[in-house]
Amino acid sequence: MKRWTGIVVPLMIMAGWEVAAILISNPFILPRLGTIVEVLMRPADDLLGTGSLLYNAWRSVQRVGLGFLVAALIGIPCGIAMGRYRWLNQLMDTTLQALRPIPPLAWVPLALAWFRIGLTSIVFIIFIGAFFPILINTIDGVKSVKKTWMEVALTLGTSEFRLLTKVILPGAAPIVWTGLRLGFGIAWMTVVAAEMLPGTISGLGYLIMYAYNFGQVNVIIAGMVVIGLIGIAIDLIFKQGEKVWFGWRSLER
């Protein structure tokens, strides 16, 4: 029963859509569902000379992966240092609080000025999007590591370095993972928006913007559907990882 309830509303929307599309009968405003499905069913076919859905999705995933990786590689070590050393956290706190509310896209002009149009700019903007959730959750994660765990480890003869790898990292890992999940979510939204900027020639964001210029609303919608599906899929992977690796956190009494 429960599985079905989630599908009711999307079905109603689709039905309403189809009815409206027939009434309006203008594919430049509201294309018929069939024409969208048609695009989705042939994901490997070239669209308007921009490459296929799959190709563009792959480009977006690559970019987001790259920016996300850089954000994780910088955010996690910084977060560990700031979670571990209070003075460092206090030193950086104001700066972080001031930078954090600036949306990634507000960095676009600067990114273009610094890195010109191209991959580096996009990766930079994704980096900005993913960095803060990763950093902040890593700090919280390290702070959440119980003092008793560290003291036990110390009395058992653990060195400072082993304390990091054997207690702090595994103890903080579940919350760091949450940071990665949130960071990836934001990075994914950011990449699509960043690809709409002038100068890009591939990616899902580019594809739907390009289709707009040709009035191909069905391609736009198909692109949006793919963006949503990939977002859900990646989130599910993160959630699954949480269950498999960090089940202890919710089960701990």
């Binding site: 008793t148 765990w149 003291e151 036990v152 480890a153 110390l154 009395t155 058992l156 003869g157 653990t158 060195s159 082993r162 054997k166 207690v167 595994p170 103890g171 890992a173 960090f246 202890w248 956190r249 089960l251 701990e252 009494r253």
Partner: protein, 255 residues
């Protein structure tokens, strides 16, 4: 081998700049293989004392020495067992017990072999692969005991280890601890709030005064193990210790 505590004091500086004297001056000698229980009013510095001996806290003055070697900082001769839940929840029982050996760089097979031995000693064979959250409170403290024993320390520092365990399981744990103690002959410093527990376990009971904790009295318990809790002379000691404790915690309290 002797654990010697000499002129030990500890005061804490609070955030508002005031200092509080938590402990001492305190002098105590514990001989090899002795089981000493420490009793005293809440807040008198029992935990602080154990933490200083375990190297987690520095004394304000005075020294701790083991075999006349001064002890500063965590030391492989000392292992601590905390009251609160202290197992690593992401590790299995086996890997929890092997932790101290792992951070010392023992190869996996070796440390698992030793860990298994101690898991058997605390009666948890068959639970090696379980995670801490799958165990009862008593079982978890057994794991903590095995983890402490696995590094083969000379002294076990136990801070109300059975405080959170229900009465029945607690009696069982006490019996088993004594068996383990008889087998391994560690020196044990055991902090407790329970007079009954102290009288059941200890060779000597150290009663501390109110904060700053000093030694009020040392009560030897001459009985052999296993002890019978209902035996008259045993009951007599318990009554005596209880009187000392009550006296100490009631002095000067307004109610």
């Amino acid at each position: 081998m002797k654990l010697r505590i000499t002129d030990l004091t500890k005061s804490f500086t609070l955030e508002d700049g005031n200092t509080i004297e938590a402990l001492g001056p305190l002098n105590l000698e514990v001989s090899d293989g002795e089981f000493v229980c420490i009793l005293g009013p809440s807040g008198c510095g029992k935990t602080t004392l154990l933490r200083i001996i375990g190297g987690l806290e520095r004394p304000t003055s005075g020294t701790i020495s083991l075999n006349s070697a001064t002890i500063e900082g965590p030391n492989p001769s000392m292992a601590m067992i905390f009251q609160e839940y202290s197992l690593f929840p992401w590790r299995s029982v086996l890997d929890n017990v092997a932790f101290g050996l792992e951070v010392r760089g023992l190869p996996k097979e070796e440390r698992h072999r030793i860990a298994r031995k101690y898991i058997e000693l605390v009666g948890l064979s068959g639970f090696e692969a379980n995670k801490p959250y799958e165990l009862s409170g008593g079982m978890r403290q057994r794991v903590a005991v095995a983890r402490a024993l696995a590094i083969e320390p000379k002294v076990l520092l136990m801070d109300e280890p059975f405080g959170a365990i229900d009465a029945q399981a607690r009696n069982k744990m006490q019996r088993e601890l004594l068996q383990i103690w008889e087998k391994t002959r560690k020196t044990v410093l055991f902090v407790t709030h329970s007079v009954d527990e102290a009288v059941y376990l200890a060779d000597r009971i150290v009663i501390l005064t109110r904060r700053p904790g000093r030694i009020k009295e040392i009560v030897p318990v001459p009985h052999h193990h296993p002890r019978e809790r209902t035996e008259p002379s045993f009951v007599e000691i318990r009554r005596y210790v209880l009187r000392q404790i009550t006296e100490e915690s009631e002095i000067g309290t307004p109610h």
